[in-house]
C-alpha cells in the first residue's frame, strides 16, 4: 500500500517537474521572440531618427539575422 502511494507521489512530482520545465522553456522562447519584436520596432524608428541608412540597416539586419538564427536553430535541434 505504502509503495503504491509512494509511486503515485513520485509520478505526480515528476509530472509537476516536467510541467515546470516546459513552462520555463516556453517563457524562454517567448522572451527571445519578444526581444526580436522590440528590436524591429526600435530599428524602424532609429533608422529614421539617426538619419543614417547604415544605422537603420544594421539594426534591422541584426534583428533579421537573430530571427533567422532563432527560427532555424531551434527547428534543427528539435528534429
Amino acid at each position: 500500500m505504502g509503495d503504491a502511494s509512494d509511486m503515485h507521489a513520485n509520478a505526480t512530482g515528476e509530472r509537476r517537474e516536467r510541467a515546470l520545465r516546459q513552462r520555463r522553456a516556453n517563457v524562454r522562447v517567448a522572451l527571445i521572440l519578444a526581444a526580436i519584436a522590440v528590436l524591429f520596432f526600435v530599428g524602424a524608428i532609429i533608422a529614421r531618427y539617426m538619419g543614417g541608412l547604415e544605422t537603420g540597416m544594421s539594426i534591422l539586419g541584426l534583428a533579421g539575422v537573430v530571427l533567422m538564427v532563432v527560427a532555424i536553430t531551434r527547428n534543427v535541434r528539435d528534429r
Partner: protein, 532 residues
C-alpha cells in the same frame, strides 16, 4: 500527414480537475481554453467581415452610376480606407488566428496553447481596437481617409479619426505579436512525443512561418505609425517634407510590413488547402518536404520585394530591376505549391464536398490572382496600371478568392469536429457556387476597368466605365447576399440541426484531431499521445 497516434482520446480523466466553468458571458470573457478563444476569434472575424462588407456594398452602390449618389466624397474615402483596414486586420487575420487556436493544439497533440492567459488577452484587445477603428468614422473631421496604406502627407493632415486609427493599429499589432509568440512557442515546445518537425501537419508549418513573419513585420508597422503620430503631434518631421522629412520613406517602411503582410494573410490559407486537398483526394500530400521549403522560400522572398508597390515613386533603374525580378522569383515556390496540390489530386479518389469545392475554387482563382500579380511585377506595365482598378481586381483575387475561400473551406472541413454536427451539404455547395460566380461577376470586370484606365479610390468616374461598374456592383451585392447562406449553414450546425458527426467524418483525414470524438471535448490531449 500520416502520423498514427498511439493513444487515441488521451487523458480526459482530468476534466474534473478543471470542473469550474463560468457560465454565460463570463465564460467567454475569462476563458483560457484554446477552443473557446478560437471560437471568439472566428465570430469576431465574421462580425468584422460583415461590417467591412457593408462598407464594400456602400462603395459599390455609390459606384453603380457615375456622379455622386449616396455618400459624399470624404466619407467615400473613409469607407475605402476602413474597408481595407477592417478586412485585413479585423476579418482575415483574426480568422486565421481563430483557426490556429482551434486546430494547432489538436493537431500537434497539445492540451492547449503555451500561454493560455496571454491568449485570452490577445483576443480581448481586438474588440477595443475594432471599436476605435469603426468609431473613427464618427470623430470630428471624419475617419481616416488616405487609404489603408495611410501615406503621408494626407495622413499627417487628417483629423482625430487618424489618431484613433493609429492607436487601433498599435493595439491590433500588439495582439498579433502576442498571438504569434504563443503559436511559435506552442508548436516548438508542446508537440506530442514523436511529432517531429517534418511530421507536423502542413497547416501548423504554414502558421509557424506566418507567426515568424508577424514577429518581424508588425513592429515595423508599429514603428511607422508611431513616427506618423509623432509627426502629427510632437513636432517631429520623419515624413513631413516641410520639416525636412521624406514622405516616400514612409512608403518604404510601410511596404516592408505590407508585402510580407500579404503572405501573412495567404500562408495560413495555403495550410488549410494543404489539409483539405489530400483528405478529399484520399492520398497523402504530394511533396511534403518541398511544400515546407516552398513556404519558407515564399516567406523569405516576401521581405525582399516591398518596393514593387512603389515603381512610380522614382526608384533608380537598378532598384526597379531588382524588385521586378525578385517579385517574379516568388512565382517559383508558389508554382511548386500549386503543382504539388494538383499532383496530390492526380489519380486520387476525389469527392467534391463543400471543403473540396472551396479548395478547388481557391486553386483556380488564386492562380488567376497570382498571374495578375506577375503582370503587375513588370515595371513598364505597372507604371501604366498603378492605382487603377486592375490592382483592385488583383488583390481581391488573392485576398477574397485566396484567403477567404480557403477559410470557408476550412470551416466546412472542421465544423463537424467543432460542433459535433455535419453541415448541410446542399447549403455548403449552394454557398460555394453562388460565391464563386458572384465573386467573378464582381471582380473580373475590374481588370477591364483597370486596363481602360479607371483609377481606384474615386467616388465618381467617366461615363465610359459605367457598364462594367454596374456589372461589378451587381456581383458584389450577390456575393454579399451569398454569405447569408454561409451564416445559415453555420448556425444550423451550432444548433445541432443536422446529422451527428462521427469522430472522423472524412475518410481521408489523417491528422490527430480526427482521433478525438466530435464535438471535440473541452479538454483534449492532457496526456500527450505518442506518435509513431
Amino acid at each position: 500527414m500520416s502520423s498514427v497516434p498511439h493513444d487515441h482520446v488521451a487523458g480526459h480523466g482530468h476534466d474534473d480537475a478543471h470542473g469550474y466553468h463560468p457560465k454565460g458571458i463570463m465564460r467567454w470573457i475569462t476563458t483560457t481554453n484554446h477552443k473557446d478563444i478560437g471560437t471568439l476569434y472566428l465570430w469576431f472575424s465574421f462580425t468584422m467581415f460583415l461590417i467591412g462588407g457593408t462598407m464594400a456594398m456602400t462603395i459599390r452602390a455609390e459606384l453603380f452610376e457615375p456622379g455622386m449618389q449616396i455618400v459624399d466624397p470624404e466619407f467615400f474615402n473613409s469607407l475605402t480606407t476602413l474597408h481595407g483596414l477592417i478586412m485585413i486586420f479585423g476579418a482575415i487575420m483574426p480568422a486565421a488566428v481563430g483557426f490556429a487556436n482551434w486546430m494547432i493544439p489538436m493537431m500537434i497533440g497539445a492540451p492547449d496553447m503555451a500561454f493560455a492567459r496571454m491568449n485570452n488577452w490577445s483576443f480581448w484587445l481586438l474588440p477595443f481596437a475594432a471599436m476605435l477603428l469603426v468609431g473613427s468614422l464618427f470623430a470630428p473631421g471624419g475617419g481616416a481617409a488616405g487609404g489603408w496604406t495611410m501615406y503621408p502627407p494626407l495622413s499627417i493632415q487628417m483629423g482625430m479619426g487618424m489618431d484613433m486609427t493609429i492607436f487601433a493599429i498599435h493595439i491590433m499589432g500588439a495582439s498579433s505579436i502576442m498571438g504569434s509568440i504563443n503559436i511559435i512557442t506552442t508548436i516548438l515546445n508542446m508537440r506530442a512525443p514523436g511529432m517531429t518537425m517534418m511530421k507536423l501537419p502542413l497547416f501548423c508549418w504554414a502558421w509557424l512561418i506566418t507567426a515568424y513573419m508577424l514577429i518581424a513585420v508588425m513592429p515595423v508597422l508599429a514603428g511607422a505609425v508611431t513616427m506618423l503620430l509623432t509627426d502629427r503631434h510632437f513636432g517631429t518631421s520623419f515624413f513631413n517634407a516641410a520639416g525636412g522629412g521624406d514622405p516616400v520613406l514612409f512608403q518604404h517602411v510601410f511596404w516592408f510590413f505590407g508585402h510580407p503582410e500579404v503572405y501573412i494573410l495567404i500562408l495560413p490559407a495555403f495550410g488549410i488547402i494543404s489539409e483539405i486537398i489530400p483528405t478529399f483526394s484520399r492520398k497523402p500530400l504530394f511533396g511534403y518536404a518541398s511544400m515546407v521549403y516552398a513556404l519558407s522560400a515564399i516567406a523569405i522572398l516576401s521581405f525582399l520585394v516591398w518596393a514593387h508597390h512603389m515603381f512610380t515613386t522614382g526608384l533608380p533603374t537598378a532598384g526597379l530591376l531588382f524588385f521586378m525580378y525578385a517579385t517574379m522569383l516568388i512565382a517559383v515556390p508558389t508554382g511548386v505549391k500549386v503543382f504539388n496540390w494538383v499532383a496530390t489530386m492526380w489519380r486520387g479518389s476525389i469527392t467534391f464536398e463543400a471543403p473540396m469545392l472551396f479548395a478547388l475554387g481557391f486553386l483556380f482563382l488564386f492562380t488567376i490572382g497570382g498571374f495578375t500579380g506577375l503582370v503587375l511585377a513588370i515595371v513598364p506595365v505597372d507604371v501604366q496600371l498603378q492605382d487603377t482598378y486592375y490592382v483592385v481586381a488583383h488583390f481581391h483575387y488573392v485576398m477574397v478568392a485566396g484567403s477567404l475561400f480557403a477559410f470557408f473551406g476550412g470551416i466546412y472541413y472542421w465544423i463537424p469536429k467543432w460542433t459535433g454536427t455535419m453541415y448541410d451539404e446542399r447549403l455548403g455547395k449552394l454557398h460555394f457556387w453562388s460565391s464563386l460566380i458572384a465573386f467573378n461577376v464582381a471582380f473580373f470586370p475590374m481588370h477591364f476597368l483597370g486596363l481602360a484606365g479607371m483609377p481606384r479610390r474615386i467616388p465618381d468616374y467617366s461615363q465610359q466605365f459605367t457598364d462594367w461598374n454596374q456589372v461589378s456592383s451587381i456581383g458584389a451585392f450577390w456575393f454579399g447576399a451569398s454569405q447569408l447562406i454561409f451564416l445559415y449553414a453555420v448556425l444550423k450546425c451550432i444548433a445541432g440541426k443536422g446529422a451527428k458527426a462521427p469522430a472522423k467524418p472524412w475518410e481521408g483525414g489523417t491528422t490527430l484531431e480526427w482521433t478525438l470524438p466530435s464535438p471535440a471535448p473541452y479538454h483534449t490531449f492532457e496526456t500527450p499521445p505518442v506518435i509513431k
